[in-house]
Amino acid sequence: MTERVFRILPLVFLGLFYFYPLFFIFRISFAPKGTLDLAPFAELAADEYYWRVLWFSAWQAALSTLLTLLTALPAAFLFARYQFRGKTLLRAIANVPFVLPVLVVASAFSALFGPQVQGLGLMLLAHVFYNYTLVLRIVGNFWANLDPQLTQAASVLGASRIQAQREITLPLLLPAIGSAALLIFIFCFGAFGTVLLLAGPRYATLEVEIYTQATSFLNLPVAGALSLLQIVASLLLTLLYNRLQTRTAALNLRAAARVQRPLHGQMWLLWLLAIGVIAALIVLPLLALLIRAVIAAHTLGWGAYAALFSQASSALFGVAPIMAVQNSLVYGLMTVVVALGVGLPAAYWLSDKSASAIRTALLDAVFMLPLGTSAVTLGFGYIVAFSGPPLEWRASAWLVPFAHALLALPFVVRTLTPTLRSIDPRLREAARVMGATPAQAWREIDWPILARGIAVAATFAFAISVGEFGATLLLGQPDYPTMPVVIYRFLGQPGLRNYALALAMSCVLMLVMVAAFVIIERLRITDSEF
């Protein structure tokens, strides 16, 4: 009985915080006035502007993907096949952007290029910055596991080096490259913060358009219809990604003994290239952020930062900006509790080896749904779903961490499930045979193995919550601003003073995230997907 409750919990959570808002989005776009009315869609289809938005979402995502692959593939090869000094550090640095909130990235790039600089190039750069590590992880890990004997076999059979790469390595890597590309495309297609902050007002993705329609024009039916478009698009992409992922996993016949050679000859050029890219792309903007914050303080006097602690300093919020740090931390902890409370049962369910493969695959797809769902769409869904009866939760401060927990769920599940699957059920059986109660067996067998996984998952959830921007912006109550929201407001105000405050807050946020990241890296056991 308790087990059933335990299992139902994740579905109830998804039902309330994913499907219920989804239903409201459907309702508001298909029946804005209560009866079926396709006017919002007709409006979308008729207006060339929306087509341009859709087209822009797609091509900027494609271009971002292509640029990321071009930049990161040589490094993936280097990391997969060679051993060199500083490799761990370099890999760690390359991983940093993955946890950095978009507001920090925006501040960092503006610190590097100047506060007024905006444009498409900057946004593309940010997308490469974000997704570089995905290629390194997905393609690089796959490549490292690729049996080097395969190319050697080709070589013995008469294939030259280039032929062997073309005939053997490339086709074998293709699913991994495809999977990385698709994931990058999904992330970039749902870009919101980078477009809003870096590309500038001339550009709008679907996400930005949903936000604008919902908040500036209060055109909820059109926002709903756009949200549906976004949901369908990302759903299809996620499905495709999952299929590719399964194929990638199937092809990776075994993790062969990793053969990594020391660098030699021209490979030093590749090494130089990788270091150069990582330094210029990742280290430089983050350094610029720190330096600019110090320079600004030098110009204005450190006293200027006292404004962060003063309620009067800003008409933007009802509270002192520094309270945002506390809000973010509290939200982050709440998110951890909720995401683990839901994600752990879900992971147990998915790792149940006695369950039918079809059911597990289906459940896996369901729990992965939030990965393809954008934060803005989600926030919009909550606005339309929870603003009136029967569930009038719109004004509750806890709605934000629940939204964050939903966004964190796929990461939590994908971190915990492989760990749980790795626990040989015979270990538990052995413990039971030797007289352990189920609870004791769990404590003695599951817990020691699971603890690190839980810590990593918790840190992921925390990092996602603290850095989340889109949903928080849409849902956020003025009395409870989070760090990203405060930075966004400061960046939107003229004057060096506001700019300096944005930079300072960005530095704080960056430090929190880097700390979280260090914890994740320290505790990471398997080469999990994220």
Binding site: L150, Q152, V156, L157, A159
Partner: protein
Amino acid sequence: MLQLQHISKAYAQTRVLQNVNFEVAQGEIVCLLGPSGCGKSTLLRIIAGLESQDGGQVRLNGEPIDPVPTHLRGFGFMFQDFALFPHRTVAQNVAFGLRMQHLSAHEIDERVASQLRLVGLDAAKYGSRAIDQLSGGERQRVALARSLAPQPRLLMLDEPLGSLDRALREQLTDELHELIKRLGLTALYVTHDQAEAFALADRIVLMNSGQVAQIGTPAQLYRQPASLFVARFLGLNNVIAGRVLGHAHGFVQVETVLGVIEVAADFTPLPALGAAVQLVIRPEAACPCDTVQAQNVLIAEVTQRSFRGATQRIQVRHASGQMLTLDWAATALPNPLRFCLRPDAMSVM
């Protein structure tokens, strides 16, 4: 045909190969035998051009082939785990080397079919299968067909049966031997399994920590191990220190803790009188004493016995305390046991 001259190789301070010399004649099967980590696989990879040696030369018919890149050497190589291309079908795997030779599609199809038939697979049935649909034994056959298809000058096999279970391994060893001989191939076969090496090899190169320990036919190695290492590796554990007392009537007399033992002098050079030697008593040396020519008579206590089918493996303790492990073929096994040691089942080194 193939000559290895003074090959040496080191990885980061560890010497993997030290001054390895041997030759392989046309049509000969040579087994590189040795414990894991003895450098035998590295040697094979050097011959294939997959790695380069630090010193020495590999010559083919007198010509050094070290500057020739792997793909132009025209050798066949069967990898330990077969290294079949997982994204290609069986037929595409076998066709790979032929495509590299730019044969016509028609020719490739014919050769693929005939190669698969050669290893006992039906091309019509197996050709279009994916690699992960094959059993271990089928994979082995496909890998063999693939390495044979381009008609290599030299076939190299790196523990090709290592990942298979024992019964299958024995069956495939015989098949492999028959096939290589039928095709008249020159082959270099790496294994750590002496039974496999004995079954396959015309000659064995036994290696120990990067050096050649002994070269010879399987019978030579077994009957006349050159060192303690060779004896131990071949499972000959009855090695007893002794001193040569004399040679007479085709026997060498060796003084040991067991008394004076006579060993058949069917080897050269005979050890000098008074020389300190090691006596190797092979398990099959033990036999009931016939009354006609009672030689090397010993009495010992039987401490252990285990049934081995045609024989019993017994362990006996001689009055001197010396333990011996022996195969006993007779049904009766009295204890204490009086038995003789056949002079032709022993050697000195």
